[in-house]
Point group: C5
Chain length 354, copies 5
């Protein structure tokens, strides 16, 4: 489970625009790759110094600069300057505590997103913040960690598959957004499997661990929800096409991503409803088992305690107890005991306690 809130406090009081990385360092070192393409040409290279980026800036081709690892302030600063980014934008990229948002700075758009991956050993959802800058002819993307999230797009650009090479930077930005949203479906599928597994476990064999799992799922849902809700507004804002950076032909694709986002939100809400329903089921199944235990106790007590009294009575030492001297006293005692026992069992059967 990600930490609830990261140490932001060390930033309090610094002038706005001061670049401070907030969050864990997830990548070993910062890695910058540039992909530069148009319908005819394609160039891909990993660069070592930020200055190399500058060469691509004013080319008419689409330039995609991807930065893995955002903890090195020295790298982001010059990059930001080169592309004319506002200091507050850089500050937001470095702060992994952002909620998804879209900001229109006129000559470029700034989008913050969250993506999730299931960490296999710990079975926990891990968030990652992705920032996109869409400018005229270029897209900058920032990831917290080196990963293969964007590989399918890279592959498509390399192979010229689909229409991506024929379209502009706005389509590239759309493709990245689409990938992030598609990614949510993968996480939700895994959550869905957990939910279905839990529903079965609840019926067959609920344990306190089941409760813990329900609680963890609930927390994950709170977390996912917090990250996906604002996305609706973000993509809605892009789709409405108020920015001249987005061509009309891309609008219809953005509407598609928008639909997917709504679907993700819908599914999250459904899961939330189902998870809180499971809590009710769990609690009442605990009640039911308690009930069952109580019934056993009550049946035992109700049958044996009166019989114990009878046995106790004939264990008394009164000098004058005629029954004790009867020839058939002891067999009669057994008769009485068995009769009481049988009657009790019949009675409880009737009351559906047995």
């Amino acid at each position: 489970m990600p930490r609830l809130i990261k140490k932001r406090s060390r930033k309090a009081g610094l002038p706005p625009g001061t670049l401070v990385h907030i969050g864990e360092q997830k990548a070993e070192e910062v890695r910058i790759t540039v992909i530069d393409y148009d319908e005819a040409r394609f160039q891909e290279k990993e660069i070592k110094t930020v200055e190399e980026c500058f060469l691509f800036k004013d080319k008419p081709t689409v330039t995609w600069i991807n930065v893995d690892g955002i903890h090195e302030v020295e790298v982001l600063g010059p990059l930001g300057e080169c592309f004319g980014l506002h200091p507050l934008v850089l500050e937001d990229i470095l702060n992994t505590e952002q909620r998804p948002k879209l900001e229109d700075f006129g000559d470029y758009l700034f989008v913050v997103l969250k993506t999730f991956s299931y960490n296999d050993p710990s079975d926990e959802v891990e968030p990652e913040q992705i920032s996109l800058i869409l400018g005229p002819g270029f897209v900058l993307s920032f990831q917290e960690r080196e990963g293969d999230v964007f590989n399918p797009i890279r592959e498509r650009v390399r192979n010229g598959k689909g229409r991506i090479r024929r379209m502009g930077a706005d389509y590239l930005a759309y493709a990245l957004l689409d990938l992030v949203v598609d990614n949510y479906f993968i996480v939700l599928e895994q959550v869905g499997e957990k939910v279905e597994f839990l529903e079965e476990e609840l019926v067959t064999n609920p344990t306190p661990e089941t409760l813990q799992t329900i609680h963890n799922l609930k927390r994950e849902m709170i977390f996912l929800r917090k990250s996906v809700w604002p996305l609706r507004e973000v993509i809605g804002g892009l789709e409405r096409g108020e920015s001249s950076l987005i061509e009309e032909s891309t609008g219809i694709y953005l509407r598609d991503v928008y639909d997917h986002t709504i679907q993700v939100i819908d599914t999250i809400e459904t899961f939330r409803d189902m998870i809180s329903g499971m809590l009710d089921i769990y609690l009442s199944s605990v009640s039911n088992r308690m009930n069952e235990v109580m019934k056993v106790l009550t049946i035992i007590a109700t049958i044996f305690i009166p019989l114990t009294l009878v046995a106790g009575i004939y264990g008394m030492n009164f000098q004058y107890m005629p029954e004790l001297e009867w020839r058939w006293g002891y067999p009669m005692f057994w008769l009485v005991v068995l009769a009481i026992g049988v009657l009790m069992v019949v009675y409880f059967r009737r009351k559906k306690w047995l």
Copy 2:
């Protein structure tokens, strides 16, 4: 119960517009039927190759092409091209995970709907996705499974009953929508019967299975709700008549469907309220029974444990216990025991425990 979320993951990273069928294959083979009519003429035929459809495209009559089974990508592709559908529309038709929506592409409207049927053996609601394309003079409808959902309309067109033959393609689309919404009432009636049955069971004989049934109903309601809520917007959007494909005279009929949709939503909300009320009733009836069991246990213990002590006392072997030698000691013991017993019973009667 339908699966919570279908395997969408295999689509992640593919270029948009790639046709991939998402969901179960519900029909054996794809079946395409064409109905072509105006006030005077009527023609109905099942076609084998998609190309036959093309003949109907530009006729002035109303053409209704119905496709049962959407798992064969090879069939949908050419059909879409013929009627000039956007690749994203075809993608959405193939993806049975859609939420109901309306998209206006200018020269055609695209509507996604969900319909439900009660599967008799398993007593579970089964969803089916229905997609409609309304263009000038034609309606395309796509069903997941071969079924008789649209038969009443077919019948009306065949017989020329009602005003359907005198009206255009928009009225046909309305008629299909109306049928889908009317269908919800049938499902809700069945849910309503279950709810009423459960309410009685809750009062007479609640069991843990009752709880399971409540939970299942709740889940069904979550599911139905998710499918019907967006429909309001869809039909509201059609009714507002912003598309030139819908004639004004059809508007009043759409308003009627809109009213029905609101009614369906209303009923679903009412059921949700009632079902969560039933959960409360169930839980408190479990508590009540536990209470009753506890009382029995307490009464038994309270009456017999003190008596057992008395019997134990006179079973002691002290040498000097005057009572043991009294002539009437034993009868007196019985008197005391009975007196205590009677007093206890009277006391519990007073306390309303018996």
Copy 3:
């Protein structure tokens, strides 16, 4: 309690505008009365054939045609045609499953309302659907059952009391609406009495029947709410005065009804809040009583079980048990028993268990 959902299913698939009565038949036969008046003239008559109505249609006076019983399709059809009603309007009048709504057809307004009455023997709320048509110079009202709901208005028209005879058909429609809303207050008063009665019962003597009553009340509130909420929009729509059928002078009266509707909704919400509060109280009073029972059990067990052990010990048959031969062994035993008992009682007093 009214049935949750009426058999609407037999309508599914019929062409729109087909007249089918949905709901129970509540009146023996259809009864039509006409009241025709202006400031000077007044005429009231019960008519046998629908055709008689036609005479009143074009008169400059205000014509009020009231139909009790809506199950006979043959009567409504011609009436609708005479006054130029759309087939969908007639369909809605016949379908008692409507939610309250207002539809403006330009030359007439169509209003659907729900009214309630407490059925004395079964103590259950019974709904009735009332449809109003307001046209130029006429009002048509349709009731499910012959009743005296509208009698006060009839009386006022007959006697010329108030300003009703001086005003037009819109004022008559207002007066009918006002009566329906005033009627809700009567039902709510009865509900309020039940709520107050329940609150007292909860404190003095809660039983499982109390729970059942709370549940029934809750269900009634769900039902009432569903019927009254949309009324707000209906009357608000009338008040906004967009229809030329409603004169400005009537607007102020409609605002008054609107206020009353808000008040009804407010009261329903308050009752809902109170009823769910009562459920909490009930559940915790059940818990409290369980607690009390448990305490009694624990006290009995804690006092008597150790004493029984002591008695059991001196009932053992060891050959060498010095205490048994002591002269004061038996009285000492009693001393010990009483001392333990007294100490226990003191201890429980301290713990506030006694």
Copy 4:
């Protein structure tokens, strides 16, 4: 606690504008006082007949007519006629079931408010309805009961303290509103004290009475909320300054009252949250105590029942029981008993049950 709903039913069916007093009669007799002032002049008198009021109507001074007790229809009728009030306004003043509202009749504004006072002996909140009419140069105020609610204003007008004598009738109306809203703070302070007291009681010594008090507070909150929420709209409506009766300079003061109203609503919502939190605490503290009781029972049973079995065994009368004849059999028995007891206690300590 005020009654939930007052007998409104006797009004049902009467023509609108019929003056009927609804609610309890709270004042002995109707008392009318007139205060007439401008910056220079001041006149205050109690009048006996309504006709005296008429003299003040057209004077250029500010006239404030206060009516205590609204149960006498004969008094209100002529007063309303003199100031040209609509019959529906008079009807609303008489009906103490109103929710707060603002109505703009063009030449006068009609405001309904609720005020509350804590009734000392019964410790219950008592509502009172206050109606204000603001016309050009006059304010009419109607109270249900003779009281000193408005005394501070009267005092300020008499002494010419503050700016009240220099301002017009709209400022007077504002001052009355401000007083009513300030009054809520007093009631909320008392509620706040109750809440804090309850929170302490919950921790130290919760009893079923605590639950009753929580429930009563909750009910009071429902009641207060219902009365204050609409006030926001009322004062917001006045502040927006759409009426020419309110001068711009008064607007800023109204904004201040508006802020206070929001603050009152905020506080009510906070109290509601806290009260429902307290219910949870109460319920779980009941559970906790039950738990504690169960533990005591279980410990007693677990320690003593096995020992009782041991004692019972050596009380058996088998002829051949070697232990009975052992020299140290009885002391060994004690050893065993004590050892078992000590082990049990150690075990429970470990399990944290002791």
Copy 5:
């Protein structure tokens, strides 16, 4: 925990604009410091008499007057007059019960904020009200208590770090706002740590104190929420830039603070969700433990009570009890006892009770 509601009552009835301090007195004496700067000059001084402030009023530099301690009415009065503040503004500054708000008086803006600090010994959140006045070329700030909240800003102004010395008074106001919002993150970090600690405690060792802590956290969240929600509107209002006092270049910084505020609200809502989830966990873990206790009790009772009966039977004194005289009676008794015991244990193992 701060008191729920402060004694506002003593103000009721006073004319508006009367200066009365509401709240606790938190500072010993009122302390006024003036900082006056532009890009070139810088002057800082503590002043003793209010009159000294007047000198700074009309200078072209940016003047920041900070007042610590607001309980002395005599100090605020003249200050307000000098800067032309409306009496209602002064009244609001003195009343520490304000909710955050923004008021635009044309020639100055009035902002009320709440800040929080964790009081170390009592571990409770302590609120403080901060009021800001932004006028042309000056900022007035009012704090309840002398503190170092604004020190980072003072430092930045002194050193000319960042762009603060180059910008106007609006940027200074923004910097103060930003600091207040950053401060919330610090408080939320501490709350987050508490929440994480509690989550662990819940799993390992829940006690009634855990419940109390959950309740306290919940209350704190209610409190924080109440203070931060309105802030969104306040900063949103500033950002929308309707006031000419705020230059466009500052707008982008305000948007940044706005984002932070949304993030704070988001985090508070997440915490609220998590805390109410913890309550559920707590309650069900209490249930679980009760269940465990009940099982122990039932197992003990079920094993030993029947055995006690058997022992009791052979303790009876019937003259003719053949078993008592059997040579192997006593060993057989032991066999039976052990067999029953073992069978029981096996049975409970099966039922998963052991």
